[in-house]
């Protein structure tokens, strides 16, 4: 089943465990009042970004969303700089200018976590066009949520990607809600994946609690893009374990929805069960990863909290590339 090596699978587990532990800790720290701004946690959705990013190279670009922490970690951004950005510190990925929802790391091919939901699809068309024009061999992967799918820019971007046969993969992380509004209410046309048909591109739906399903769908779409066959869309079905943002009382969903997902649709538990049952990895080495990750997360948060804010005299920096 798995087309990845033992080492790669162990790395995938480490990535997902790191994403999870990072968010579980963020949940606590935010409640404690130490984190500025709004935060949107990715817990429950890890297999999506991990399965996608395992197919990306240094030449590729991942367009991030406002639910930005997990994808940033999966793409290989420095986790210390990720945490510092969320804490708005000067050594953060964006030097404290962007915060939680705007994680961006050009050198690692992580782009433009955004408060304009859906804009990644259009920006991704541009990244894909540039990759093709300049012959880098790279592709672009745009993450968007189910809610963002109803932005005009997403339809416009899908159309553009299709007529230009761009090396773009659009990954729709369907966690069932855009803020408090259910996807089932908001989305016409028999589901997200079916919208791809209208734009002449393959559209598949995969179970986001299954790392392997995501990995394989992303591998096929990435391969198609790299071969110049054009864009694809993947709808990844996930459940977010926390609220839309921290502080959300979540009364719009039933009390046990997230709890049930934690019990039955936990991508980390599913991954562990599969690799152990198939004899690919053993429980002991996964436990070791967990211990390692716990230690890493302690260090990451301690360092981020202690880090200084950006210098006051830098307020006016980074506005223009060529000074006025």
């Amino acid at each position: 089943m798995a087309t990845q090596s033992r080492t790669e699978l162990l790395a995938a587990y480490r990535t997902m465990a790191t994403m999870r532990a990072f968010e579980e800790r963020m949940h606590i720290e935010f409640a404690g009042g130490g984190v500025p701004g709004f935060v949107h946690l990715y817990a429950g959705q890890e297999a999506s970004a991990a399965g996608v990013c395992a197919n990306l190279t240094d030449h590729d670009v991942l367009l991030n969303t406002h639910r930005a922490h997990g994808p940033a970690i999966a793409r290989g951004a420095d986790i210390f700089a990720v945490a510092k950005e969320i804490y708005c510190r000067g050594e953060g990925l964006c030097r404290g200018r962007g915060g939680s929802a705007h994680l961006h790391d050009t050198k690692n091919g992580l782009w433009a976590a955004n408060s304009g939901v859906g804009s990644g699809v259009a920006l991704g068309c541009g990244a894909a066009l540039a990759a093709r024009t300049r012959g880098t061999g790279g592709i672009a992967v745009a993450l968007v949520g189910d809610g963002a799918v109803n932005q005009g820019v997403v339809s416009e971007g899908l159309n553009l990607a299709s007529i230009w046969k761009l090396p773009l993969v659009v990954v729709v992380e369907n966690n069932g809600y855009g803020e408090a509004t259910a996807a089932g209410y908001a989305i016409a046309g028999g589901g997200i994946a079916r919208r791809a048909e209208a734009f002449d591109m393959p559209g598949v739906q995969v179970d986001g609690s299954d790392y392997f399903a995501v990995f394989e769908a992303a591998a096929a779409a990435a391969e198609r893009a790299r071969r110049g066959k054009g864009p694809s869309l993947i709808e990844v079905e996930v459940t977010r374990f926390f609220g839309h943002f921290e502080g959300d009382a979540q009364t719009y969903r039933s009390r046990d929805e997230a709890e049930r997902a934690r019990r039955e649709r936990d991508c980390l538990a599913n991954f562990r069960r599969t690799v152990v049952a198939e004899g690919i990895l053993d429980a002991g080495e996964l436990d070791l990863v967990d211990t390692d990750v716990a230690d890493l997360i302690d260090r990451v948060y301690a360092e981020a909290e202690a880090a200084p804010y950006p210098p006051d005299d830098e307020l006016m920096e980074f506005i223009y590339a060529d000074s006025l």
Binding site: G90, T181, G184, Y252, R253, Y309, M316
Partner: protein
């Protein structure tokens, strides 16, 4: 009369107008609490709970949750307004006007004029402005000068619960498109607000403090910053005329010019930017029409010309504070 928050005052204005007039409808993301979920109905009332309770009273026919499709639903609201409804639409953060700018400035603003006065567009767009929550530059801007640029739009910037209720009531009763700018740091501010409905006429500034030494014009949350500064200045013997225009279109130019005529000095405190902003606009007005009254240069207290940073220390440098107002006033008085 009871103590009410800015949030409650806004909710009451909408409820009052929806009870009064069956043509008033409400739409926006999560305004009906978040439709279709597995939990309670009427859960959210928009992300900050402002419209909570409306679905229960008025039902899903008049309180509509929308997909995240601002161009679509604001365009639809314009069409509904042209057809006789009086939609109140929630744009959430004013920064999102980026994705529906055409609907707001080319459709709503021009529909009446360009079609020769055949139609009216009784539309109210509620939207949040203001920095101070460390949520960076796509969530913190104050774009009322952008809206004010466009003839055909009316623009309201209430600074208190009382004004919020009275101005929103007027907005909904008004027959033109109105952009109602709610400052997100004011939602929990309380004051006495009448239970019954009342309308504050558009284009009437409120004189919050009478002085005579200097005119300070401040908008939205900056009214409170300016008011704190005025209290400190009074102890130094500097008496301030503090004017809150409350609406930028129509703008109560008369009250501003009258005050400057008496004081000869003008400081404008504005959270929108220093270029092409309301402070520049008001400064230009007084330079043109009140030049002879001025005894000192006009001083604008605004943020610098930079996107809004997330880091709390940088954001605090961005937003005008009491000290910057004190400096400005002392400067014009000493001139």
């Amino acid at each position: 009369m009871a103590m009410k928050t800015y949030r409650q005052a806004i909710n009451e204005a909408i409820v009052g107008e929806m009870r009064r007039d069956a043509d008033v409808i409400l739409m926006g993301e999560d305004v009906a609490g978040g439709a279709g979920g597995s939990g309670e109905d009427d859960a959210w009332g928009g992300p900050l709970g402002v419209t909570k309770g409306l679905l229960s009273e008025f039902g899903p026919g008049r309180v509509l949750d929308t997909p995240i499709s601002e161009a679509g639903f604001i365009g639809a609201a314009i069409g509904a307004a042209a057809s006789g409804l009086r939609p109140v639409v929630d744009l959430m953060f004013n920064d999102f006007v980026g994705v529906c700018f055409d609907q707001v400035v080319n459709q709503a603003a021009k529909y009446r004029y360009m079609f020769g006065g055949q139609d009216q567009i009784p539309l109210t767009i509620r939207t949040m402005i203001g920095a101070g929550l460390s949520i960076s530059s796509q969530h913190s801007q104050s774009l009322y000068p952008v809206f004010s640029y466009f003839a055909g739009l009316k623009v309201l910037v209430p600074s208190s619960p009382y004004d919020a209720k009275g101005l929103l009531t007027s907005a909904i009763r008004d027959n033109d498109p109105v952009i109602f700018c709610e400052h997100k740091l004011l939602y929990d501010m309380t004051e006495d607000v009448p239970d019954e409905g009342y309308a504050i006429p558009l284009g009437e500034a409120s004189l919050l403090r009478e002085g005579g030494d200097v005119t300070v014009v401040a908008l939205s949350r900056m009214v409170h910053v300016a008011s704190d500064a005025a209290a400190i200045l009074a102890r130094e013997g500097i008496e301030t005329d503090l004017l809150d225009p409350r609406t930028t279109t129509p703008l109560d130019t008369e009250s501003i010019l009258e005050s400057v005529e008496a004081t000869g000095r003008l400081v404008i405190v504005d959270e929108s930017g220093p270029r092409c902003g309301m402070a520049s606009d008001i400064a230009a007005l007084v330079a043109e029409e009140g030049f002879g009254d001025l005894r000192a240069p006009i001083v604008k207290v605004t943020p610098p010309h930079v996107p809004i940073p997330a880091a709390p220390n940088l954001e605090a440098l961005y937003v005008p504070d009491v000290n910057r107002v004190l400096d400005a006033v002392r400067r014009v008085v000493a001139y």
